[in-house]
Amino acid sequence: MTPEIMQSDSSFTPATVDERQTVITVEHVFKRYQPPAGVSIRSLAQDLTRVLRNKARTLIERPEARFVLNDISFSLKQGDSLGLVGHNGSGKTTMMKMLAGVSLPTRGRVRVVGRVQPLLALGAGFHGEMTGRENLYLNCTLMGLDIHTTRERIEKIIEFAGVAEYADVAIKRYSSGMLARLGFAAAVNMDPEIILMDEVMAVGDYSFNVRSTAAIQEYVKRGTVVLVSHDMAAIERICQRVIWLDHGNIMMDGRASEVVQAYTQFQQQKVFASAAPAQSADTPAGEREIIVRREQFDADVAVHQVDVLDENGDPCKSFGTPARVTVRVEAEVAQPRADLRFVVSINDTRTRVLLTSIDSQLLATPDFVQGRVLLEATFPPLNLRPREYGISVKVMKTSALKPMYSWDDVSPRFAIAGERRNPRLHYVAPQEDLLFVPGGEMRYVKIEAAPARPAVPAKPVP
């Protein structure tokens, strides 16, 4: 154990003897990626001879390679749920790859008992020319199901996805929504023992979303879960335990609520200290500047500006109850993109919990987006607790789980006026994780196929 690990006060192991089987063991794991192998004949010959002599035990020492993971140890028992948090490049994905069994620890030991299902992308191995049913056979058997279980599951998956009448149609003819539903249904109906999730999924139209949210909850209860997410609310909801990774080291390991709190505080301090305020052309001078955390994962997609408007379409910083909030987002898509999905959410800037969202996938999305896009998301009348709030915007692909661009207000953008301690006012989303309250609208005000302009470079996020 490294000394810098902050120990949380409470321990997870109950006083009584825990008889559950340990399913994941990670012992003193170090990982170093080798730089792309040299094309030199010499290194090739070396590799060959080493392997043939079965001496490939040591890696060639290359000074430029650094450790992505540094002495990581933890273990999980059957039914445990672990969240991994940390900035980009902290080693979360590498850890997941090792648990998935596609990458080896450079040093240390990884042991995983049971069938693992990595939910890194929906519909891995799907092929457009094959029918829905054929693709499901491929997907299920790829995840290691035997043929009997596969046959049994497929009907269940098709029914869950609601694509029964298209089961024998090539999936290239599916709509993006159907495809996402099929991938999702396949993912949650495989019944693996260990689930590796990279971001929590929410797909499909409204009625499917209700079912998929319920399915995810049911699904994570059945197995041992490791979840990587930027969504702290999801982490807290799903995980009992959280490990905070920073540059490959364990910063903190403990009860979910404590680690998430420590991590968000740390992150906010960093952002406040370093981030420049969002440049908003129409912010009157003298007003408080809003601090925004932006992350760009796709160079072609950028969000330039986010404004909060009242029902008359005027910028607004204070709402009464119920609040009628409209969010205007100005985005730019440099290269034409199909299947774009915009998710506009209201967050509590203090706790960083997402309260409610409007997801374009649940509404109508244009097939094809290019150029500057101005969209307005109108929330249904909200009963929000009187305090300050910010906006989060995520631009994603319908089939992917990770955003292409993410915009998060760190400092408040608008406030709800009113008596602080009114017991009748509450958060909008008390219902578990159903973020999508019906009644929201999203419309595209203007789509201007402007000539490609260099996208705003992503701000390096601490």
């Binding site: 035990r57 080896l104 049971g114 191995g125 491929l138 058997t141």
Partner: protein
């Protein structure tokens, strides 16, 4: 709540190594056999569904390329294949050569074609090159169908030596798969390999008795052909199918042993290198 864990599925890796024997690798792969079948099916669907004439290409490909060689070698450069008619000779050889070439070249690209699953899911990756072999049987079957038709058209007789063909075919397949494993393991990190493979295959084609019979090769050079396993394999094919004799038995045995060695070492090398697939992006 307590569910019986599938304890057969234990994955344990330590110190940059997955401790598993050759037999352990095979046992692990065998559990995934249904995936293999669907993967092969996917490969076949992918290959033929996107072209407008689909499966017809499996027939057109060998016929058209044979036509090229027929023009070159029976009109421009005359090759003596007595008593076999040259079109029959070249088509037979080319169908069997195309099989070898497809396995070797498609295996090399099989990993990079499927990076989406290779970097995310654990499954026996040897299925990717192995599926190439099974997929190639489709083309081969169509090709051999044309060969049979051509035999009937010419009324050319076959002797009982043709019964040895399955053995030669087995040797050819083992060698191709073994080389395929080596190339699949390397081609993902060394992209230049794709360029080299094309040239080398071309060279091997001309240095093997594929478009000409072995007896047209001058004696002093023919000794060199011994070191080329493909030369032995094709000499054996031609003798048994076309000339009704079999004189290369000892050489073929040697090539057979070599092929098995190539396959086993290639497989182990592949299993060792497969960990780099997800690490090098």
């Amino acid at each position: 709540m307590s569910k019986q864990l599938n304890s057969a599925m234990v994955y344990e890796a330590a110190d940059n190594k997955l401790r598993r024997s050759l037999w352990g690798h095979i046992q692990y792969a065998l559990r995934y056999w249904p995936f293999f079948l669907y993967w092969v099916r996917r490969g076949i669907v992918t290959r033929y569904s996107q072209t407008s004439v689909g499966l017809l290409w499996a027939i057109l490909q060998p016929v058209l390329s044979s036509l090229v060689y027929i023009v070159v070698f029976s009109f421009v450069v005359r090759v003596n294949t007595d008593p076999v008619p040259y079109p029959l000779f070249v088509l037979t050889s080319l169908v069997l050569w195309a099989y070898f070439q497809r396995i070797v070249t498609s295996s090399a690209s099989s990993i990079s074609m499927s990076m989406d699953i290779v970097t995310k899911v654990r499954f026996p990756r040897e299925f990717l090159p192995l599926a190439v072999v099974v997929e190639s049987w489709i083309d081969l079957a169509f090709g051999l169908g044309i060969v049979v038709i051509l035999f009937l058209i010419y009324g050319y007789p076959v002797t009982e030596t043709v019964l040895l063909v399955p053995i030669i075919f087995l040797v050819e397949t083992i060698l191709a798969l073994g080389l395929g494993f080596y190339l699949a393991a390397l081609a993902n990190t060394i992209k230049d390999l794709f360029q080299v493979i094309g040239i080398v295959m071309q060279l091997v084609l001309y240095l093997s008795p594929v478009m000409y019979p072995l007896n047209t090769v001058p004696d002093n050079i023919r000794a060199l052909y011994v070191i080329n396993p493909m030369a032995t394999i094709f000499a054996a094919y031609q003798e048994t199918i076309l000339f009704g004799r079999f004189t290369v038995g000892p050489a073929l045995l040697g090539v057979g042993i070599l092929s098995v060695i190539v396959l086993i070492t290639g497989y182990l090398f592949f299993k060792r290198m497969e960990w780099r697939f997800a690490d090098t992006l």
